[in-house]
């Protein structure tokens, strides 16, 4: 008994600090934009389409797997805003798909890992997905990536965004159940 109590106390303490870390991770407002890392593998653009004026230079692939974005509610919310601002809706609708493939289902042609989604955004994909490399800061791409993953319930429930102040397509991201991601073909 006398041995149990301190143990229990320590356990509670550990649990609490874990909660704290989780909460801080989730709630942090990341303002300072991390500079784009210049020493990363380059890759060709796989789409001719580009916003505004086209660039000819190759795009830079992600060094890591976008740590820290999937767990941060603010980044995901920013991603959701950019998704609207940069008119991803135009093709993907509210994730339901249209000209472009749906993002709310479990079918990922180019992979559902953050790094893979990052590549899709910067390189572009054949048949319509523009190449945003160089037109977006790396930070913004990661935010978009995190949001895109939330659309198919890949993120923690306490991070995924709630309903938007706009016409609603389907239930808010926070209400979506995770669908096992497997490469499908559409």
């Amino acid at each position: 008994m006398s041995r149990v109590q301190p143990l229990a106390g320590r356990a509670a303490l550990v649990l609490l600090s874990l909660m704290a870390l989780g909460a801080c991770e989730r709630e942090m407002r990341r303002f300072d934009t991390p500079p784009d890392n210049r020493s990363r593998p380059e890759a060709p653009r796989t789409s001719a389409l580009q916003p505004a004026e086209a660039r000819s230079d190759p795009v830079r692939m992600p060094a890591a797997n976008g740590e820290g974005y999937d767990e941060n509610a603010f980044s995901v919310a920013q991603g959701k805003r950019l998704y609207r601002w940069y008119n991803c809706n135009g093709c993907h609708a509210q994730g339901g798909g249209g000209m472009g493939p749906a993002l709310t289902d479990d079918q990922w042609r180019y992979g559902s890992e953050p790094a893979q989604i990052f590549a899709t955004i910067v390189q572009g994909r054949p048949n319509g997905m523009p190449s945003f490399g160089g037109h977006l800061s790396e930070d913004q791409v990661w935010q978009l990536t995190a949001y895109v993953r939330s659309m198919s319930g890949q993120l923690r429930k306490d991070v995924a965004p709630g309903r938007a102040d706009s016409l609603q397509g389907r239930e808010p991201e926070v209400g979506r159940d995770r669908e096992p991601a497997r490469p499908g073909s559409k």
Partner: protein, 658 residues
């Protein structure tokens, strides 16, 4: 029904005063059980109220510290002590703390201590509910500060306007914690309101007719009624908010037929009465302190009571004056202008009555009276700026500027905090048995008074010069630097004076002068018993013959029945001394009506509060918590309600049908 024979017969009856065998029995009966478990199971209104007061005061200090950090940031232009993210959390926490965790609950806490003493009874009605309300309040406040510590402190303002506080613009859980804190604190406040109302209506000493109720009790009763009708509004609003955020409802989503101004209507329908929930108890304190130090009964008792009631009614008719800048129909606005200005009249009536009382009395300048005089200066000034804000054109210029910050602090600190500090000095001897130091008290008062005006008067001018509220910084060269610096200095002077108060309280607790039953020579019943009062408050329930029972001598019996139909009895006898038995009287003229059995201390209110806390916090993370979380609550409440056999037998032995 008749008592079974094996029921223990209760023999000891109260009546004989202190020192007697019955008195000792009463102490044992009403004392909280010993040990930690006993402490957690306590239901005595004085123990609960003491914890409640200390807790709310701790929140007051916490909120004050947050304010100091804000003032540091604003002392100079373009300061970088805190960034916008933290600053927004700071002012949101400051506002929420002061409004929800300090101002309203502290008044109820003091009432829970004093009302039974002033009414001459031994407990509040529903003592277990009272304990439950305290625990709920404590857990709600702790949750909010835990969230703040984990960087999940709310950051959308204490008023949480949507859409800024909505799911689209406040990601994460910050605002959810705020909304649940509302649920906690308002639940607590509503329960306390029920406790106070029932106590006042049913547990008054014989002879305390409605027109003999002490004015502080009147103020608290009016406040309690306002709580009943004001708080549901904000609970509804915050529930809608959290549902918008968590389950995707569209109450506040214009794109789906919702409306963001709906929030403002619901919030201010609560939010404006809220101001008077804070203000009316302050007036009650004054009406208790002034007669004592003027050595005469208050002037215009009836007028004061009617003024309280009038204020309560008008308070529900002017919420829109917080929304003049949101485009609303013009015609309505002038109505709300009129209502907002007319509410000044009841306040004026009270102020003039108090001045009359002071003018025709014999004054005794002690610290409590000093704080009362401070009230006159600050509150009246705040009232004047309030009248300016009630006028639509003026409001449209100064609305949401530092002018409003100045105004609301003049009203709330002048109208509530100064009287509250006066009340602390006034009743501290009753709470603890010792007087507070007068010398420190005067220092405390003057530092507070000067610091306050230094901190908040310049804000009026800042508002005129175009400085908006809720800004985390301001640019140099706008002409705001100097006055902001003064305000910051003033804020620290206030902090110093509050520190002095704490020192004074702690020192007096040990080394203060022994107070005795009635150190001020006051007239109300709480001074009729020992300081601090025994667990049962009164060894013999007094019989009341006037508004200041300790000042009026009962007439001799030969005069026959006097007003209120009470013959000149001095005290009550015949209540069980070895059971928690209380006298209930009739609602209007307080004739003895029933002998009621009161519940024993129990741990279940605490357990229920924990269960409720689990549900509330759980529901921030998953809606299903509402389902599985309700099961432990049901169990706990049932265990709370379920009668124990020995208790029942005791009650049966005392039972007597109407």
């Amino acid at each position: 029904m008749n008592a079974p024979d094996h029921a223990p017969r209760s023999r000891l009856k109260d009546g004989p005063g202190g020192g007697s065998r019955e008195a000792a029995a009463l102490d044992d009966t009403w004392r909280d059980p010993p040990g930690l478990l006993g402490w957690l199971a306590a239901v005595n209104h004085k123990s609960i109220a003491r914890r409640f007061i200390v807790t709310t005061f701790a929140f007051f200090v916490a909120g004050g510290i947050l304010a100091l950090i804000m003032r540091l940031q604003l002392a100079r232009p373009n300061a970088h002590i805190v960034g916008p993210d933290l600053y927004n959390q700071l002012f949101t926490m400051h506002g929420s703390t002061m409004m929800f965790l300090f101002a309203v609950p502290v008044m109820q806490a003091v009432a829970v201590y004093l009302v039974p003493l002033m009414l001459g009874t031994r407990s509040v009605a529903f003592p277990r509910l009272n304990a439950f309300a305290y625990w709920i309040f404590l857990f709600g406040g702790l949750m909010l500060y835990a969230a703040f510590a984990f960087n999940a402190g709310p950051d959308a303002g204490w008023f949480s306007y949507v859409p800024l506080a909505g799911p689209d613009y406040s990601p994460g859980k910050r605002v959810d914690f705020w909304a649940q804190m509302i649920t906690f604190t308002e639940l607590s406040a509503l329960l306390e309101a029920i406790v106070i109302i029932t106590t006042v209506f049913k547990l008054r000493a014989p002879g305390m007719t409605l027109n003999r109720i002490p004015l502080f009790v009147w103020a608290m009763m009016v406040t309690a009624f306002m709580v009943l009708f004001a708080m549901p509004s904000v609970m509804l609003a915050s529930t809608m908010l959290i549902m918008d955020r968590l389950v995707g409802t569209h109450f506040y989503n214009p794109a789906e037929g919702g409306d963001v101004v709906l929030w403002q209507h619901l919030f201010w329908f609560f939010g404006h009465p809220e101001v008077y929930l804070i203000f009316l108890p302050g007036l009650g304190f004054l009406s208790a302190i002034i007669p004592t130090f003027a050595k005469r009964p208050i002037y215009g008792y009836t007028a004061l009571v009617l003024a309280l009631i009038a204020t309560a009614f008008l308070a529900f008719g002017l919420w829109v004056h917080h929304m003049f800048a949101a485009n609303l129909p013009e015609l309505g606005k002038s109505f709300f202008t009129a209502a907002s200005m007319l509410i000044a009249i009841p306040s004026a009536v009270q102020i003039f009555c108090w001045i009359a009382t002071l003018g025709s009395g014999r004054l005794d300048f002690r610290t409590p009276l000093l704080f009362v005089l401070g009230f006159f200066f600050i509150l009246v000034l705040g009232g004047m700026t309030g009248i300016m804000l009630a006028s639509v054109p003026l409001d449209l210029q100064v609305h949401d500027t530092y002018f409003v910050v100045a105004h609301l602090h003049y009203v709330l600190i002048g109208g509530a905090v100064f009287p509250l500090f006066g009340a602390f000095y006034y009743w501290f001897p009753k709470f603890t048995g010792r007087l507070m130091s007068e010398r420190l008290g005067r220092w405390n008062f003057w530092l507070f008074f000067i610091g306050f005006n230094a901190a908040f008067f310049p804000m009026h001018l800042l508002g005129f010069q175009g400085m908006p509220r809720r800004v985390y910084t301001y640019q140099a060269g706008l002409g705001w630097d100097g006055m902001n610096l003064i305000a910051t200095i003033g804020a620290f002077v206030i902090a110093l004076s509050v520190l002095l108060f704490i020192v004074n309280a702690l020192r007096s607790l040990r080394r203060g002068v022994e107070a005795g039953d009635n150190p001020w020579g006051a007239g109300t019943l709480e001074w009729a018993t020992a300081s601090p009062p025994p667990p049962c408050n009164f060894y013999a329930i007094p019989v009341v013959h006037g508004r200041e029972p300790l000042w009026v001598q009962p007439r001799v019996k030969s005069d026959g029945p006097e007003e209120g139909g009470q013959p000149a009895f001095t005290h009550v006898s015949g209540l069980a001394a070895d059971a928690r038995e209380l006298l209930a009287t009739t609602v209007l003229d307080a004739r003895p009506d029933l002998r009621l059995n009161f519940p024993d201390p129990t741990i279940w209110p605490l357990v229920s509060a924990i269960a409720v806390t689990v549900l509330f916090i759980g529901s921030i993370f998953t809606p299903w918590a509402v389902v599985w979380g309700s099961i432990p609550i049901a169990i706990a409440l049932t265990a709370w309600f379920w009668p124990r056999r020995p208790e029942t037998l005791l009650h049966l032995s005392l039972e007597r049908r109407p």
